[in-house]
């Protein structure tokens, strides 16, 4: 697994590359920390009703989260959670989770 500072850097780099918006956003690490209470620290979890997020391909992550947000995928909870994040924030989180070894 990458160390935290490297992960943070990966998130920050993805940001620089991936966004056009000028509004500053939280780092991928900061945003992703909120998910850990259910999906495990750094998105790693096993033997749980919750699914791991670590190592999820970025494109899949962003698509799943936008599907939750726009109501294209039904859910108990994630529709609510996904509404709290912009496209840029989802990309930053995607880069973070993709960089964690599952």
């Amino acid at each position: 697994m990458l160390s935290r500072p490297l992960l943070a850097l990966a998130g920050a780099l993805a940001l620089v590359v991936g966004t056009a918006s000028a509004a500053p956003i939280a780092t991928g690490e900061m945003l992703a920390n909120s998910c850990a209470g259910c999906h495990g620290t750094n998105g790693r979890i096993s033997n749980s009703a919750f699914m791991p997020l670590a190592g999820m391909p970025q494109e899949q992550f962003v698509r799943t989260m936008t599907d939750f947000r726009e109501g294209r995928r039904s859910s108990t909870l994630m529709g609510h959670v996904a509404k709290g994040y912009s496209d840029e924030e989802l990309k930053a989180m995607a880069a973070f989770f993709a960089s964690v070894k599952p």
Partner: protein
Amino acid sequence: MNRREFLKFAGATSLAAAFPVRSAFAGAQPHVVVVGGGVGGATFAKYLKMADKNIKVTLIEKNPVYIRPYGSSEVLTGHIQMKDLDVTYDALKSRYGVEMLIDTVVGFDPDKKTVSTAGGKSLAYDRLIVSPGIELKYEAIEGYSEAIANTKVPSGWIPGAQTQLLADQIKSIPKGGTFLLVAPPNPYRCPPGPYERSALVAEWFKKHNPTAKVLILDPKDAFVTDTTMQQGWNRLYGYKMPKSFEEKFVEELRKFKVFSAQEGVDALYAKGILKRNSGPSMISWVTGKEGGRVLKLDAANMTVEAENGVHKADVINIVPPMVAGTIAQKMGLTDKSGWCPIKRESFESTVHKDVHVLGDSSIADAMPKSGFSANTQAKVAALAVAASLKGQQPGIPSWENTCYALAGSDYGFFVADVFALKEGKITNVSGHRYLPLNASEAQIRLGAVYQQAWMKSFTDDCFA
């Protein structure tokens, strides 16, 4: 320029090394001391070590084993046992290198930057984190005291021997007896908690003592999850929905376009959103408007005097008003509300520099006093402290809260928020917070499955 600004200035111009201060800026290993190894303190210690393992982190906790409050009402129904609430500090020590000190913090010196313990130790800190939970104000209710809570009329809002006492009392309620819960005024730890506890006791009665009753006396007229919780009571325990809430239901269902403008209260029942219950309800909720505010306890006669009259019960459970943990008050971190004002992006106290307050004790705007809140506050603070020890400003913060709640073992729902800093306040940015009132049976059942899974995933994220 004060000392801190000076140090920042000195750090920025790399003059710091010239000054023999015990500080990260001088290149020594910084020391962060955490007071309270509950949700906030443990999560902070773990995440600070993850951010930078070269920071020395000492966690001071008065109990060798943490008894988790979240999920503790499940002990009352025998769904779990007291020992299932125990959480050890082993992983914090062995995996993350957090130094544990089992001792009680009794004071501190903000100028010398030291904390002192009951065991006679004095520890120097570069940053101090305070997450001591709550203090219960038993005496705020006439006739109530900690001694009575320990022996006859338990609270169990800080779990421990009172939780077990309450569980034993519930089992000994005579057939058709009454369990009375006194709900607290805002703000308090775990907003859905008193109502979830009431529901779990009703579920236990349904199986073991079907004519027994749950009576809630409340100074408030509303609570977080009041619609979804009452919907659960209505479906499971014969509860009749109050008129004002029927209207709230219709309003919400219209807002989400589940109901047309023509559909009203009748449609709630026709469409199975609510049940028409004709028999007696197992749960009654007396709101503030209806005289539910409690004035006095008579423990000897097991009666409670509320504004609407005197109520006799077989078991009385009081969740008294509460304030920030005692040590936060002693340290002068509280304002006149009894809670601790903080700077949002770092949870640094606005009273004392280099001291951060997390969790229930802090004033965190729209964030409820919950374990989930304490956990994400701790992560924001850990990143802010790691940055500040390098002489950097805190980054843009982000928080979340989800309180899962049960109306029965297979009946789960939640309140969920994503929070961001907006105009200086911690603000919900995710919109609707509750499970929809037309949620399917499967969604509700899954809610209960996830509630149980969360107890473990969450404990692991905080402590392991």
